[in-house]
Symmetry: C2
Subunit: 143 residues, 2 copies
């Protein structure tokens, strides 16, 4: 058997939690950044419960706004995100997680990062990172 | 005279703009990442006008939700952000800008990044990046 993934639980203090400002809907924006390469992978949302679960389990667990339910990233795709460090911004309404991305990447399109499309990419000679398998109309939180 | 800052205008095509999904309030989340070091600097919001201005002028211009007005980052502080590359995510509701951060940093607290506070930082022996001059109660879009 191969060893399981390395997890890095982070202890959330009441003082830290008090710094987090949730929206009226009870959500806070969460940016996932690849710790090794520095790429910004995606932005999702968390409520207090999934933030707690993320830090306790060391694995990114979001709140799906479209499905209105807990969304453990990678349950379906296998592309889980393992938390290594976590930060909150100066006014507490955005979180930043440095993660180890499992599998092929964070994006359901197959791209490593969800930010694979470049502005100015339509111009002549411009470099693009367009993913051929891109399909319009998907939501921001498919698994 | 010293030369002015290098600007990198990006041509926004109608097709690209059509991919951007604004909220009911007409806003889209915009992540600024330091191009050189890879640090995520901040998350702000843009409306269509400030997105256009950002790409045309090559300088980050946000929409202040608290003040409900255009917010050209660095007009007061001098800590302007010069756009080098810009991306939109798979469902078009988050933008990522790779910028050259001018001055001491992106955060009004004096930190280079707004994400200078670490979860788990209250624990014994934990590494913290706490900024001593931090003052609570500020908004996310002070200049």
């Amino acid at each position: 058997m191969s060893p399981g993934p390395v997890v890095t639980p982070i202890e959330l203090s009441p003082g830290e939690l008090a710094q987090v400002r949730f929206t009226a809907d009870g959500l806070v924006a969460a940016i996932a950044q690849d710790r090794a390469g520095g790429q910004v992978l995606m932005l999702g949302w968390m409520n207090e419960a999934t933030l707690r679960e993320t830090l306790e389990t060391g694995r990114m667990v979001y709140w799906s706004r479209s499905r209105q339910q807990r969304w453990a990233k990678g349950d379906t795709s296998g592309n889980r995100q393992w938390v290594r460090e976590a930060f909150y911004d100066c006014d507490g309404d955005v979180l930043l997680f440095l993660v180890e991305q499992e599998g092929e990447g964070a994006c359901h399109t197959g791209s490593f990062s969800c930010f694979y499309r470049r502005f100015g990419g339509d111009g002549p000679g411009a470099t693009t990172a367009t993913h051929e398998g891109h399909e319009p109309g998907f939501t921001d939180d498919q698994q």
